[in-house]
């Protein structure tokens, strides 16, 4: 699955995107966050509990309980500041 990061999360993680192979027990956005935190200190910092970030599954905003089975990409990003 393709994982993407935006704005400052890109720098903290150290990559704009990465391909990850997920174990079977990673079923939701929340599971994925927990799984990614273990990949590096940068991941752990960017995706820390209590940090203000949002997620999108296949380019639609998603809460942590949204399933990711079959998704092509999941993205993580800080709160939007456009407009």
């Amino acid at each position: 699955m393709r994982i993407r990061y935006f704005a400052w999360m890109k720098r903290t993680v150290g990559a704009a995107d990465e391909e990850v192979a997920l174990p079977e027990n990673v079923k939701t956005v929340g599971d994925l966050v927990a799984f990614l935190r273990a990949r590096s200190p940068g991941h752990a910092e960017a995706l820390a509990e209590g940090a203000a970030f949002g997620a999108a599954v296949d380019q639609r905003t998603a809460t942590f309980d949204v399933p990711i089975a079959g998704a092509r990409e999941v993205a993580f990003f800080p709160p939007f500041t456009g407009g």
């Binding site: 993407r4 935006f6 704005a7 400052w8 203000a52 999108a56 380019q59 639609r60 905003t61 993205a75 990003f77 800080p78 709160p79 939007f80 500041t81 456009g82 407009g83």
Partner: protein, 158 residues
């Protein structure tokens, strides 16, 4: 009925002309143009000017988000024409960032829907501002007022 995400500037007059041409059911057209405002930050004892920012976005998701927001507005108000053009990339103070235009038979709907779209753009569209400050580039933090502005539409009837 149109959303566009682009790096290039837009011509407000030409956009509005194309949006309303031939539609005689529009009585009111409300338009919002967002511009890069010259900002100042405190830097030690001095106030320093921010002259430019870079707007990052999420290609693909941005267009979907704008279409969703537009569809929501069209469900709440009787609209004859809607247009959202949002730029990304590096923008200097004074440059246009976003154009939102709404045409309706009635001015109340045109104003309501336009303000709704602008409020929602700020909180629901995947854009991030990186400011060029004297101390280096700095990501802009989300503005609480924007969330409050968007949230009032959650409880308010269109």
């Amino acid at each position: 009925m149109t959303v566009r995400v682009q790096e290039a500037d837009f011509d407000v007059g030409a956009e509005l002309e194309a949006l309303t041409a031939g539609n005689k059911r529009i009585g009111g057209l409300t338009v919002f143009v967002g511009l890069v405002r010259e900002m100042h930050v405190r830097e030690g004892l001095h106030r320093e000017r921010i002259d430019a920012l870079t707007l990052e976005h999420y290609p693909g998701m941005t267009e979907k988000a704008l279409l969703d927001i537009e569809a929501e507005a069209r469900q709440r108000w009787p609209l004859e024409a809607t247009l959202i053009v949002h730029r990304y990339g590096r923008l200097e103070a004074g440059e246009r960032i976003v154009l939102v235009a709404v045409g309706s038979p009635h001015r109340e709907a045109a104003f309501g829907a336009c303000e709704f779209l602008v409020d929602w753009l700020k909180t629901k569209a995947p854009f991030w501002k990186l400011e060029e400050t004297p101390a280096g580039d700095k990501w802009v933090a989300a503005h609480e007022g924007d969330d409050a502005a968007a949230q009032r539409w959650e409880t308010k009837a269109g």
